[in-house]
Every structure is written in C-alpha cells, then in structure tokens.
C-alpha cells in the first residue's frame, strides 16, 4: 500500500483501510493500483473532498476502470454530483 503514501495519504488512513476491508478486497485493490491511482487523482481534480472516506469504506469502487468512471461523472452535472458525494459518500452510487 506504499503507493497510497506516495499519493499523500496518512498512515492513519491506510490503517483504517486495512481495518475496514477484508484481505481479498485489499489484495484486489493492490492488484488494480494503477487504475486506482488514476481514479484517486481524477476525484481530487474534480474536488471530491472525501476520497479518504471512499477508500476506507468503498475500496472496491477504485477497481472500476478509470475511463468508465470519468465518462460516467461527465454525464452528470459534475459540480452537483460532487457536492452530493461530499455530503454523503453513498451518492457515488448515482454513477
């Protein structure tokens, strides 16, 4: 999970990810790390402020192909969707 440190996530966040997710989910996330990195960077770019919470609670969505995530977000009014996700991370389910 060192790549998360390189992306600026704290040890505390990494520990919470480990506590909240089963080993097979974490292993899958590590295998999909290149795609996950792109998703993280894109989410930050569009001002999603709760990327750490998404990692802790919805780690599996970072395995979804980055291009598909980007296109899906672009279909929405991105600023409204981002505001909703920042309120309640469940709004990511709109994608």
């Amino acid at each position: 999970m060192d790549f998360l440190k390189d992306l600026g996530f704290s040890d505390e966040v990494i520990l919470k990810i480990k506590e909240n997710n089963s080993p097979n989910v974490i292993r899958q996330f590590i295998c999909d790390r290149e795609n996950a990195k792109k998703n993280i960077e894109y989410m930050r770019e569009i001002d999603i402020l709760v990327v750490d919470d998404l990692l802790i609670r919805r780690l599996e969505i970072f395995s979804i192909d980055y291009e598909r995530v980007r296109k899906a977000i672009e279909k929405f009014n991105a600023s409204v969707l981002v505001a909703l996700i920042n309120e309640d991370i469940s709004a990511i389910n709109f994608l």
């Binding site: 402020l49 599996e60 899906a72 309640d88």
Partner: protein, 589 residues
Amino acid sequence: MLTDSKKIIKLIENEIGILSNEINYIKDDVKVYEKLYKKLSNSRENIIDISKKELKELIFKFDIENKENLFKEILTVQKILKMNNDYSSTLRLFERNEKAFDSFMDELSKYDLESDFIKNKIEKLYSKQKEYEKLIQEIENDKFKVNRKNIELIEKIFLENNSLEDRKLIEEIMENEIENYNDRIKKSKRKEEKKLAEEDLIQVFNKYDYKYKTMDEKYRNYLEKHGDLNNIDEVFSALLENDYPKIIDEYVLTSILLGSNKSTIDTVTSFSREHRLIPKSLLDISGCLLEQRDEPKTFSDYDYMVTGSSIDFMRNIITIKSAGLSINYIFQKCRSILTMPNALLKYNIDLFNKYGFSFEYKKRGIIDPSPDALLSPTFAEICDAFIEISPNGLKYLTDNLSNVKTVTNPDALMFYNIYLSEKLSSVEKEDDPNNGPFRKVLEENNENYQLKAIITRNRPDYRNTPYEGITEENKREKTNTIEVPIKGKKKMTRIIEENKYPNISDSIFNNPYILSIDKYISEDSALVYDFSGIRISRLKVLRVYDTLLKNGISNSIDGFMYAIFYNTIIDEDGYEKVVRCIKKEVEVR
C-alpha cells in the same frame, strides 16, 4: 553464558527462600484457622474473645471479594453477641449477619492441610521453586537460553519482588542479554533471508521468456526470500500449459509464483473454463489462482500478496449461479465478491433476500451498490439498525445499499446523529420539510434519499463540529439513550457473538412469545414491529431469539426481551413504551 551469572544465581536463591517462607506461613495459618473453626463450631459466642485487629488480619487473608464488607458484618455479629452476653439481652442477628457468619465459617473450613484449596496453594509455590531451581541449573551448566520465556521469568522474579538495587542490576543484565539475543536473531534471520540464488531465478525466468533482472527490487527480494525454485518452475509451466497470457503486472506475477502451485492453477482454470471464465479474466482476480489460506491475524505486505482464495472462488461461482445471478455481472460490478469467504457470501445472499432487496435496481450504471453490500461482515446488524433508527431508514438503505458495507458498526456515531435529528425534527419543526436527517434527491424520476452532511460528518469541514455536540464519548448521554437492563445479558451476548452465521428456524414462528407480538407487525412493512411508534426489526428478534434458544437459553422473558432490544438505540421513554406493549401480551418482570 549470562554476563553476571553468580549475582543472578544469588538473587534466584533468595527468591526460592522467600517461597519457602510463604509455604511455612500458609502451614502456620492453617493451624490458627483450624483451631478457630473448632472453637466457633462449638459455640459462635466464642467470637467475642477475638480482637478486632485479629479478625481483620484473618479475614483479609481470605481469597474472596468484598473482604471489607465481610469484616464489617462480622464485627456487627460480634457486637450483638457481646451485648447479649454482657447484658443478658436476646437480640437476634439480622439475616445478612447470619449469612456473613456462615460465609466466614465456610472460608475458615477451607484451611485444612488436606483440602484442595490449601493443597493447590502450596503446590503452586512448590512448582515455582522447582522452576527457579531448574533455571539455576541451566545457568550453572551454561545451558541458559535467552528466549522469551526465560526473559519473562527472570523479569517476573526480580522486577516485581526485589529491592531497587536488585532491580537496577537485573535490568542492566537483561538489557545486555536482550541485545545479544536480538543480535543472534538478526544474524540468523539474515542467513534465512536469501534462500534462493539470483542466478537460479534468472535461469528459470529466461526459460519462460520472462525478465528477472528488470523486475522491481521489492519483488525480487520476495522471490529470493520466500520462493521455492521447483515450485516457481512448475507454476510457470502450468501457466503456459493452460494458455495464460504473459503476466505483465509484477505484483500479480510474484504473488502467483509464491502463493500458487501447479495443481491449484490446473484445477481453477479447468473449473473456470466450464463456467465461461477465460484465463485472461482470472488474472484480473488473481487471488483465485492462489492456494486457499486461512486469514492470518496480522497483515504484512507479503501476507496480502499471498492471500489466496482458490477454494472460496470455486464455491462462490456455484453460490452466485444458484442465486440466479450472472457471474459476468458480478465480475463487472464488484469482482472482490468472487474471492470473498464463501460462508459469508452464502449467508449474505440469504439475508439480502430476507430483507427484500433487489439486484435489478442499478443495473445500467457503472456502480451497483447491491453487490457491494454482499461484502459486509455485519449485514444483518446494519440493516436492523437502519430499520429501527428512522421511519425512512429502510428507504434510505434500499436507495443506498452499499451502506450495508460502508457502515460497519450498529453502534456507530452516525446512528445517534440520525436518532437525535429524528427526535428534534418530530418535536420542534414538524411542518418544516427540510428537517430530519435526510434530503431527497431526484434521480431519473426516482426520489432518492441521501443523508445530510451534518449527519454523516464525512466532509472535512464538518469533521470538527459534531452534530448537536454528539461525540463517540458522549453519544448516549447527549441522546439520553440507555443500556437496557436484561438479566443474563453477558452470557446471551457471548452466544450471539459466537454464532457467526445464524439461521432462522421455522419453529421460531410458532414460539408463544413470538406469536404474542405478531399483532405489532407494522402495517407498512413485515420487517418491522411497531410498539406504539417504536420500531423494532422483526428479523432481528426472530434471528436473535432463535439463536438463544438453540444455544441453551431457556424459553423465558429475559431471552425474549434481550432479542427485542438487541443493539436498539432507545431512550427510557421508548423502552417503557415497548415494555408496556409486551406486558399486555406476556408477563414481564
């Protein structure tokens, strides 16, 4: 050899002497207690002759709790009996004094050299002495091993019992020894670290057209440290025979070379072909190609790398198909499900259907929260919590099923925020459409419920300003919620925790207690009991009460009430309301 063996031996010998004294003290005590027991058995009035100081010393040597209390009671006994004796009065002992005197006599009767109580006490001290004598022999014969057990033993002997000077000496000695010990461990570890030679690995990699030297150093180290050359060769060969494409990802490649073997690859690949999963797809969920492993307690990077679930994977394929779901759909939406523990998946699919959720809802989008919910280790508890916490809780959960997975604790702070928000909105601003914990969002003509940021506290700018001042520490106090008093709660909680995947038996539906509250099943949902406006999850009550009955708890009101209030966030008023309803149907103590 220990650095300062003579000093250590002397200290251990002292300790053996102290133990011998302790044994003698016990034997002396036995004589005193035996004599007293006989004296008091003849007549309890004889207690008058014992001084307060003597009594205190006697009682405070007992192995019991509440020595202070027993001492006070016995003094009262002594006073009453003395008054009767001195003034020929006929004062009677209170019931509690009688009981205290009986306990006092019971304790005295244990002091018999032939009793197990004394035998065990003395035996423990003898075996300690033997352990210390063995330690001295090991030190004298230069066979003392500085291992964890011996270090702990020496620390225990000296750090607890000896003078400051002795402690300093032993700390100094132990420090040196621990350093030496750690050095030895490090050296032996370094020897173990490089099991495989780089040249051998280069050769095997070349044989299958892979480049070893260009791999990341981290992965090369893993292979050299943990690898088995024959197995690596066989794994490469099995991948080739089963038509796997060249593996580009070094993490995936290393994990397969270390965590798999020929037989696992052959079996999983052939099974998957039968279910239309090609080798290229399997590499996207490579955990399925690794040998099944039980979850280790701590996770290092290496442990994650070799976490294998080949058996769970094959079972999951069958389970998913039997549930009428498409493997391809699960693969697209949430591939981690394919490698999760099979027992949990089976259990969660069953709960998913029982709570009435559907997999159809989000099929068109790229994220479907329904399969994500199946990953939850606390599926039922979280559903129950949402059902009970608000009349809109189930609607919110159905709209956002992933919450079954994202919220992991039914006692989470968020539930207290929702609870209070519902309370405040129903009392203060009944007509305000914006009150309450939820907001409504229109999505493709569907009204979708979302939680407000003041409730979720997810957004960084809200994190330091708790909703209505509620924090993890004061959540019960701020919401006036209570821990419901139930007799035998501890035992029942242990039973519930031990039963990981409980089923609901058919027989529970005919249980008299359960039948008695059928009339409270809500008109809006069969998942809810409505006790004068207090919502209780019906599946929770059935599941918990059934589990208790199956595990030796008798069919009683205590177990039934435990099931009703299990994990329920409730205040005194709500509790009274539920009890009043149940009282009408059954007798409640």
